[in-house]
Amino acid sequence: MLKGEVIIDEALCQGCGYCVKFCPRGCIAITGDKFTPQGYLLPTVIKPDECKPCGVCAMLCPAAAIEVYKFETEVVA
Amino acid sequence: MEQGVSAKGEVIMTGIGGGGVLTAGTLLAQAATNEYKNVTWFPSYAISKRGGFVECTVVFSNDEIASPLLSQADGVIVAEAAQFKDFEGRVRPGGTMIVEKTGLESKAERKDIRVIEVPAIEAAIGIGGSSRGANLVLLGAFVGVTQIIPPELIKQQLKEAFAGKEKVLKGNLEAFDQGLNLVKKL
């Protein structure tokens, strides 16, 4: 199954919210309780399973704080 | 006009950019213009415009103020604990230093000055939910300890600055009072 992994670098993120706005699948949100080291509100990947890793969030992140991976897994156990 | 409590006032205030420190300094300076013939307020930014250190120096006196820039001042307010060591040397012997307690890791070495740690961020969060009012807590503590200027003048200034913005004004007045209170026990 093709899945996406989105990694946000907290040291770089400036909390603009663009990733939240542009994720076509609503995977990311600013939940209001997490801050970056600079004190900005930090977005969280709230629906990791929904991510069909399109890369849009990374593309429009001004801070280039987002890396997106796609991977396939199979259950081992 | 009654003469102010102090014949000459000198304050250096330092912190991280964004306006809080400069605003607090301005309040003090503006307040002093009612009591003193000469007042100077000087802001100094670091290289970058965002997120760098800022400091401001306030001087008031009825005599001519020679330099508005001071190597040392009677009063120093440090809003960013990390800067404590850098500014310890900038207090005149016998002077007072107000330091934000949150994040403070080192201890004062000088014995010829008075250093007061104030949990201003904590206090501010307690009031408004955010650290925003911390600078006013520090200012309140400073005025409370040094009596450099009647606290009412600062409050008057706050009232003018936030006329019409009752909620903000209330929070600010509370923060300032909190600062005054925190040092009452001293």
Binding site: - | T26, V39, F42, S67, P68, L69
Partner: protein, 361 residues
């Protein structure tokens, strides 16, 4: 009569200009003078006066040239890089004998430099700046009050000599907020600007007027030599009549500090510290950077004084002081390399100056 305000030097420039009856301001954004341009953008339209944001500093000074040629008091302000761009026209205005006021809020250089304070444009301001033989009077405020007052004086002197006048300030004086008495200053009567272009209909004699920066066309002067002679005459008269400086604790001083602008304030504090320590220090604070008080300094040097120049540059004023003392006295320097923090965040602070005083006295 005046209004008491708690304002920074950059804002005081605006009130000074307004008090002086300045009718037109043209400016282009550059740190650390933006507050000036923004003040005029805000206040001048309300007063029914002319403000336009120019396309560049070339534009600023050339728009000023136009308004000055039209006979109104006009000015601009800028900082180092923009000041450099204005030099061709500054030279042209000296030739055309057009009055105007230009404020240079000095920042660090050379080049892009840091956008904070410095005092490195002294040579450029005091030696004319552009090509050809000419000089401008250079006024150097050291406080908000002076920023207001000297701008007024600048307009007066510009009209008196029909020559640009430079107000050389710095980012510290520009941002320093102080109590200022804003009041219109009377300097005395001036002749009508009968030479200005306004359309022939506005001239009593109905004859055309020409503003010319070449001295060639229509022969404003009978010859180039005559033009130069007149410019020389003007420069001499400015030197004789317009020298301004503040002597502080000079009567018995044996160690004389020389400074202008923000470092003069710092130097004054250091003089106070020295006096408290029993050292006979004094200060010559330049109010005009050109004309320069050569004679005053020379006399002091003849009496055996030592000198200490305090300037936030690698050493420019010091050359004039050395010129003045003619080898008769030691001349020392506290320079930009003596700032309290070794980044561009640093300033020259009183302690450093006092240390130097103790070292050399």
């Amino acid at each position: 009569m005046g209004e008491r305000m708690f304002i920074e030097g950059n804002i005081a420039v605006g009130w000074g200009a307004a008090s002086a009856g300045c009718q037109a301001f043209f400016g282009y954004p550059i740190t650390p003078q933006n507050e000036i341009t923004e003040w005029f953008a805000r206040e001048f339209p309300k007063m029914g006066r002319i403000f336009a944001q120019s396309q560049s500093e070339l534009g600023s000074i050339n728009l000023v040239y136009g308004a000055a040629a039209a006979g109104v008091r006009a000015m601009t302000s800028t900082s180092g890089p923009g000041w450099s761009l204005m030099q061709e026209t500054m030279s042209d205005m000296a030739n055309a004998e057009l009055p105007c006021v230009v404020v240079d809020v000095q920042r660090g250089g050379p080049g892009g430099g840091p956008i904070r304070h410095a005092q490195q444009d002294y040579f450029q301001c005091t030696r004319g700046g552009g090509h050809g033989d000419y000089r401008n009077i250079v006024l150097a405020p050291a406080s908000s009050q002076e920023s207001c007052d000297l701008v007024q004086l600048a307009f007066y002197l510009a009209d008196k000599y029909r020559n640009p006048v430079v107000v050389m300030t710095d980012a510290i004086i520009g941002r320093l907020r102080e109590t200022v008495e804003v009041e219109k200053i009377e300097f005395g009567p001036l002749p009508d600007k009968d030479w200005a272009v306004k359309g022939k209909a506005r001239h009593k004699d109905g004859k055309r007027r020409i503003v010319d920066h070449s001295g060639d066309l229509l022969r404003r002067y009978p010859s180039y030599r005559a033009l130069l002679q007149s410019l020389e005459q003007k420069m001499k008269q400015m030197q004789e009549s317009e020298l301004r400086y503040e002597g502080y604790k000079m009567e018995d001083a044996s160690l004389i500090l020389v400074a202008y602008g923000y470092t003069a304030r710092v130097a004054k504090e250091a003089v106070n510290m020295a006096r408290a320590d029993g050292i006979k220090a004094g200060l010559i604070r330049l109010i005009t950077a050109w004309p320069f008080p050569y004679q005053v300094i020379r006399e002091k040097a003849c009496q055996g004084g030592k000198f200490l120049v305090v300037e936030d540059s690698l050493g420019q004023v010091i050359e004039d002081v050395r010129f003045a003392v003619e080898g008769r006295a030691e001349v020392h320097l506290v320079s930009i390399l003596d700032r309290h923090i070794p980044t561009d965040g640093g300033m020259i602070l009183p302690d450093k100056v006092f240390d130097k005083i103790k070292e050399i006295q």
